[in-house]
Symmetry: C2
Subunit: 230 residues, 2 copies
């Protein structure tokens, strides 16, 4: 049975603001003006402020008491920490997937994998990454653990805006493809320990972190304004 999709104004607004952040239309550290966004979206402050609270809980923005909100500044450490976590979660998803996945689902992933290999041989980076993403998503779904999926998606969202893999060297790419070959073999053997290990070590994450090392503006500014929800 398909679940009912909740479409509240606040959720709509939260998603739209999330998009603005992802696409860089709201910059890291930028102060978020309630009035401005209200006019942009054509809603009153009530649903907008609800959205801000939700986004703060999801880790995309920070709330400064009596001083509004601002987009979370992604320091290198924060991104690194998030990727460490995502690697652990991917590892778990692999272990669980081995226990639950059906032959049919494995076949579907094998198809995605072959398609991904095609794009790899044609050096189509963009298409490659899309297939790559679909494979990881399929494994996550096969884990049958909804809490895990929710957490992973939340973390993924937090770092989405710094996810562009320009500096992909051929060596890295080759290794990533080898990893994937091993992954799908482990999956077909349903070797949960092995798949978990591969996914935890999979350099996709580490590559991105390495790539990002030079990208992120790590100026660590006005930290005296930092606030924690308590």
């Amino acid at each position: 049975m398909t679940k009912i999709l909740q479409r509240n104004l606040y959720r709509e607004v939260a998603d739209r603001i999330g998009d603005l952040i992802e696409h860089g239309e709201l910059s890291p550290g930028e102060r978020i003006s309630e009035k401005q966004l209200c006019e942009k979206f054509g809603v009153s402050r009530t649903p907008l402020r609800e959205a801000l609270k939700v986004l703060a809980t999801e880790g995309l923005i920070e709330l400064l008491p009596n001083r509004g909100a601002r987009v979370v500044r992604l320091t290198f450490k924060k991104v690194k920490d998030t990727y460490d976590l995502m690697a652990a979660l991917e590892g778990l998803s692999g272990e669980l997937a081995c226990k639950h996945i059906t032959d049919k689902e494995i076949a579907a992933i094998r198809t995605l994998h072959n398609s991904m290999l095609d794009h790899y041989h044609q050096h189509d980076l963009k298409a490659y990454f899309e297939l790559n993403r679909q494979i990881h998503e399929s494994i996550l779904a096969a884990s049958q653990n909804e809490v895990l999926q929710e957490m992973y998606n939340n973390l993924s969202q937090r770092v989405k805006r710094v996810r562009y893999s320009k500096k992909m060297t051929q060596a890295f790419w080759d290794q990533a493809v080898k990893d994937h070959e091993n992954m799908i073999n482990a999956l077909e053997k349903r070797d949960s320990q092995l798949l978990g290990q591969i996914l935890r070590d999979h350099l996709c994450n580490k590559l991105e972190v390495a790539t990002l090392a030079g990208v992120i503006e790590d100026d660590a500014p006005d930290e005296e304004h930092s606030v924690v929800n308590a």
Copy 2:
């Protein structure tokens, strides 16, 4: 530098409602009346509704469009999934802790450990569990990964209300203490792989899950009302 503590009305209300849920004053599946809680806390609907949205994001309650909110019903599967995740996160925390922890911090944990052993030998279950909790918290803190800590704490909060370990058998207890002995040894050797493995396999989680199997009312009712934030 100590961080500024945010104390907004909505956050206060959210915490108070969280306490009500934890202590069973709001039952699983129970409909949450806005008016009632407004009167109870002496606040208007605005901050209360903001709190509800945050609690929904944190996974403690569900929002039913145009039909208010209700406390999330903890099915056995949901608890099991959450514990699987927490075990993975504890494993990661152990690995990271080995890399960052100072000799002084290890000594502090050793002290906690010894104190825990005392309570074990005196069969003081309550005091034992408090020390146990402190040890795991110390390792988590030593991981130096704030995102990890945030996620772990959120998961912990979700299952807090079903955390009472009555049916602790002596055999389980003995094993748990052995695990802890191995844990602290691995920590002192800074063997991250080993500590990670121990924590992932640590039966504390599994014990609780096993204990809960008989406790949780898994009636799986009116699921047609189920809603997902989208």
